[in-house]
């Protein structure tokens, strides 16, 4: 009973954390891009324009929701739902803290609530499976909306995702070799006890990071929606809240990839340097530690979100052949060589 209740509470917490930090991300994306380009950005609605995303959401809700005449209606409506569902679902096996400790709960003296929605031995495979689902909304949206540009965007996104998923999978595999486990909590405890993954396997971290940009369809790899070439790509025929769902899914996917990157290479919820001192200052109970662990994960993810936005407004879009060259001729061999190196290193350690 308590187990079910705590799981539901964790699901609600993660879901609302994702969705409520979305407006802030959108605001930061727009404001940050304005700062980078020497503009002002949204500064009218609320203090510093912070309420602007809310105003946009209201606009999206009240816009006419329309379906193109020759569109496949079921798939057309399914695509945006799947787009948001896949990255949110992938979040559930990422641990956001070690565990909370309650006394005298459910007949036990001490009751542990692990801060991870699904405690699976194969957590990474779970995340990969749901991250892989992110291709489907692209294909469905492109196929269903009966538009040349949409299908072109879907094709581009599809081929791009496939060519990067391999390099990404191999870089994950190289970390699995080092940690010799599929379970995320074990990986984090390894990183707590030894070194952060990025110091052991910097090339793998770089490959994963680059592939993460392709995975989330962000610039410089946003070929699926290259505005100057194919109008808006796969979500061209979407308007109102259906477009907003695609828009939101992009940010949730960014959070998911950042959280995954942090868990694999940057110590996950392992405390940031200096936080031990803070915990000593308060009280070193398990619950305080768990809160600080969550805080450090949050800060790390926020940092990588910042990098996502920073890179987007720095680099121009890759040409398609350049992207394929980077994916197949550079990242793929590099990740294989890196995997072999890590296998050797794994024997030595």
């Amino acid at each position: 009973m308590i187990e079910i209740a705590s799981t539901i509470a964790k699901i609600i917490f993660i879901f609302f954390l994702c969705l409520s930090s979305l407006p802030l991300c959108v605001w930061f994306e727009r404001r940050g891009s304005a700062w980078i380009q020497g503009r002002k950005g949204p500064n009218r609605v609320g203090p510093f324009g912070l309420i602007q995303p809310v105003a946009d959401a209201i606009k999206f809700f009240f816009k006419e929701s329309f379906i193109p005449t020759n569109a496949d209606k079921v798939l057309y409506l399914l695509a945006p739902l799947l787009a948001l569902a896949a990255p949110v679902a992938a979040m559930i096996s990422i641990p956001f803290g070690s565990y909370l400790l309650f006394e005298n709960l459910g007949g036990n003296d001490q009751y542990k609530i692990p801060l991870q929605i699904v405690q699976s031995d194969s957590g990474i495979l779970f995340v990969l499976a749901f991250a892989g689902l992110e291709i489907y909304p692209l294909i469905l949206a492109g196929r269903a909306s009966n538009n040349k540009y949409s299908i072109l965007g879907a094709l581009r996104g599809c081929s791009q995702l496939i060519s990067y998923e391999i390099a990404m999978g191999l870089s994950i595999l190289s970390m699995v070799v080092i940690y010799s486990t599929f379970e995320m909590n074990a990986m984090i405890s390894y990183q707590q006890n030894h070194l952060w993954g990025v110091f052991i396997n910097p090339i793998g971290a770089l490959i994963f990071w680059v592939a993460g940009f392709a995975e989330t369809n962000r610039l410089p790899f946003d070929l699926a929606e290259g505005d100057s070439e194919i109008v808006a790509g796969y979500h061209l025929e979407y308007g109102a809240m259906k477009f907003a769902l695609f828009f939101m899914s992009e940010y949730v996917a960014m959070m998911m990839v950042s959280a995954f990157l942090v868990t694999l290479f940057f110590g996950g919820y392992a405390l940031l340097p200096g936080m031990n001192f803070c915990i000593q200052y308060f009280s070193a109970t398990q619950n305080t530690i768990a809160i600080f662990q969550f805080l450090s994960l949050f800060l790390k993810v926020a940092f990588f979100m910042f990098i996502f936005i920073w890179v987007r407004w720095t680099l121009p879009r890759f040409r398609f052949d350049q992207l394929m060259h980077l994916g197949w001729n550079i990242l793929f061999p590099l990740s294989i060589i890196n995997l072999l190196l890590m296998i050797v290193l794994g024997y030595l350690i």
Binding site: G32, A34, W35, I36, G38, R39, K40, W310, T314, L315
Partner: protein, 184 residues
């Protein structure tokens, strides 16, 4: 190889054109691309921090701030007035004649000494009964301004010419003799 070279030389002799090879060697630093990438990232970071901490931007928030145009900018017309708020125009029709767009229409009238409290009959014998500038026809060339012997008609720096109806774009004498400080 040798033949090729000869052919090239012959072609050069005949056409008197030389091919200049502008391609350069691309070193490892440029090939890896990461160096340029990081350089670019630092440029954008500099601008980000400048905007974030100092709030610097090149934007002019238009309705509140206004762009300061050059003194030679030609905007909305006005007729200059003297110290007694009497228009300088003497209805000489020079501006109407010179206007390439034919947008000025003047109806002249005698400036009566009796009606005029300021006794300007001697200096200014004529005055415009009506002076209409059709801003929709006007091409803002400034020739009326140059033709005017009294420096009466002038173009201000006011660039906000939007109106709700076409009738509002016909500037009458009352509108033209509005108070304009400096050149507006």
């Amino acid at each position: 190889m040798n033949m090729n070279m000869n052919m090239n030389m012959n072609m050069n002799m005949n056409n008197t054109k030389t091919i200049i090879n502008v391609s350069r060697k691309i070193g490892l630093k440029e090939k890896i691309y990461l160096y340029a990438l990081i350089q670019g990232l630092f440029i954008t970071l500099k601008w980000f921090l400048r905007g974030f901490f100092l709030g610097k931007s090149n934007t002019i928030s238009y309705p509140e701030e206004k762009r300061n145009y050059s003194n030679r900018f030609r905007g909305m017309h006005f007729i200059s007035v003297d110290e007694n708020k009497v228009e300088n125009c003497t209805s000489c029709y020079l501006c109407q004649t010179v206007c390439p767009a034919k947008c000025i229409t003047i109806i002249a009238e005698e400036r009566y000494r009796d009606n005029d409290p300021f006794h300007y009959g001697v200096r200014k014998e004529k005055k415009p009964k009506s002076f209409t500038v059709d801003a929709l026809r006007c091409c803002f060339c400034g020739m009326c301004e140059e033709a005017c012997p009294k420096d009466a008609i002038k173009l201000s720096r006011n660039y906000e010419l939007a109106v709700q109806t076409r009738a509002e774009a016909l500037y009458d004498l009352k509108h033209l003799t509005r108070e304009v400080i400096g050149r507006g």
